[in-house]
Symmetry: C2
Subunit: 309 residues, 2 copies
């Protein structure tokens, strides 16, 4: 397990409580947040360390869950006040959701502080937060092998200059297709990808929800169809779990900017898809309470079986 | 070429003139119709014979195009009046279209008459027409190895009983995902597929537009992502070209109800995707004026390259 010890990943983003209503049920309050999902997902592939802030209401059982997956919590800052709370309601087909509540609480003044022990870690995954904050974290690190992250429509529209400045320093970007079109101003996916890659991140994954994902890189592109879930309970966090599987796998392979084999990148997209699919099977992070590495491998092989011709 | 001569396909459906407006341009009147697209596409894989009706305005150059691809025209009935005319306008992303004109003309009284020479052909592809008419054609044939077709929301909603009766006799059905949900009453794709397959067609292809297609059969399922087109001019006929590539390939392989290897079925879905992708590159049937079998094979290999991991 030497690889896992030496190729650690730093994950920055929100740790939150979520209230979620889907056609499959309703949970008033449960652990959520991009950093939570990314780090739990990545923990199956590599050692992860998180940078996040929570309030004094953050439950010990939630700390324990993260710790049980070996996630480094030195950068989990606890401050007076309440933890970020988000609540939303999903549409009948779960492809859309409406936000009901966004109480930023202690997250409103989140200024990521990187513990000294994190600064020389080789992998950095920046969850969806203000782009200038994402940049400030990257600048606190030295010796990065691979850095990238996620963003959203709000930053694309209202913080474009800061986002573009941040993207310059990224090796990879994970984004959904509507955001890719918004960021690039191109409706054709190939054209959108070319424009976005010219902004910085040479490794680009465009996520297409239930339809799968497409990776663009120097040597071409790779597409994987979506996994057909028989039981879809809650899609919250699926995109972040995708990110966690993707970067976690790349970290486990020791991939760098200068040495990113197409096969590793393609498999990272499949592992991302695998992790996103598991995430949807239970509310919140529920699936990660039981998920095993063997189940992940089995599903990876399922992807092979239903895509081979 | 013995296989191609002996494993012929009968294609039934509309032969029409279309007026199409897309973000890439506008054509007031050009050859179209499901039967046209299906038979042109299938002609790269197998001998096709069509059953359709046109008016006395049907141009010799359009007859010549079909003949140039070796398509059997004995069942192309010509009657007094005008050929079916359809006109539509596509949305900016070409995922939706609005019908501007539907002049059924001679197609309104289409009653497919099968030439005697067609009756013992082994493969039958029923384009999207009234389900009872589709059934009447099937009943005129004997010795079918594989029969199936396409349908649409109008028949699903307003002719459900006739459609269900027709589907009982089909081995395969090609349908898009919104139609699959409408027909089955299930929003989950796996559940929808199970219900539809129980209605008759054990081989089910659910087309998902730019996102690809998923095949369901006795041994499991297979998904292929969509081809990323760099130049998308006109999606009209793409679904029918998919159908033509799919059934054309199965016919070329001699697939039957009782002998339908999973690999042949999966490759048929890829060839369908290949043919659908070519269709979109020019207005109407324009791409088929130059398309070669080598180009088809090259794109099939491209699909392999961008889906292998």
């Amino acid at each position: 397990m030497a690889t896992i010890e030496t190729m650690s990943l730093v994950v920055v983003g929100s740790v939150a409580y979520d209230g979620v209503t889907t056609p499959a049920g309703k949970v008033d309050r449960m652990l959520g947040g991009a950093c939570t999902y990314i780090s739990l997902s990545a923990s199956y592939f590599t050692k992860s360390h998180i940078v996040a802030v929570v309030g004094d209401d953050f439950a010990q059982e939630d700390v324990d869950l993260l710790a049980s997956r070996g996630i480094g919590l030195e950068g989990l800052e606890r401050v007076p006040g309440k933890t970020f709370f988000w609540a939303g309601v999903y549409s009948a087909d779960m492809n859309d959701r409406e936000t009901i509540t966004t109480d930023l609480n202690v997250f409103a003044s989140f200024s990521p502080k990187l513990p000294e022990s994190y600064q020389s870690e080789p992998y950095l995954m920046l969850g969806n937060i203000q782009p200038a904050l994402q940049n400030s974290v990257r600048e606190q690190m030295n010796g990065l092998r691979l850095v990238g992250g996620d963003t959203m429509n709000y930053w694309i529209n209202d913080f474009r200059a800061e986002l573009l400045n941040t993207l310059k320093g990224w090796n990879f970007l994970l984004i959904n297709d509507s955001e890719a079109k918004m960021l690039s101003g191109e409706s054709n996916l190939q054209a959108a990808a070319a424009r976005i890659r010219a902004l910085g991140p040479k490794i680009l994954v465009i996520k297409r929800g239930e339809y799968g994902a497409t990776l663009f890189h120097d040597a071409g592109h790779f597409s994987v169809p979506g996994y057909l879930l028989t039981s879809l309970k809650d899609p919250t966090g699926a995109g972040d779990c995708f990110a966690g599987g993707f970067i976690g796998y790349l970290a486990s392979r020791g991939v760098t900017v200068d040495s990113a084999p197409a096969t590793d990148l393609a498999r990272a997209v499949v592992y991302g898809s695998v992790m996103g699919s598991f995430c949807c099977e239970e509310f919140g992070v529920g699936r990660f309470r039981t998920l095993s590495r063997d189940e992940i491998e089995d599903r990876f092989q399922e992807f092979r079986a239903f895509t081979t011709f």
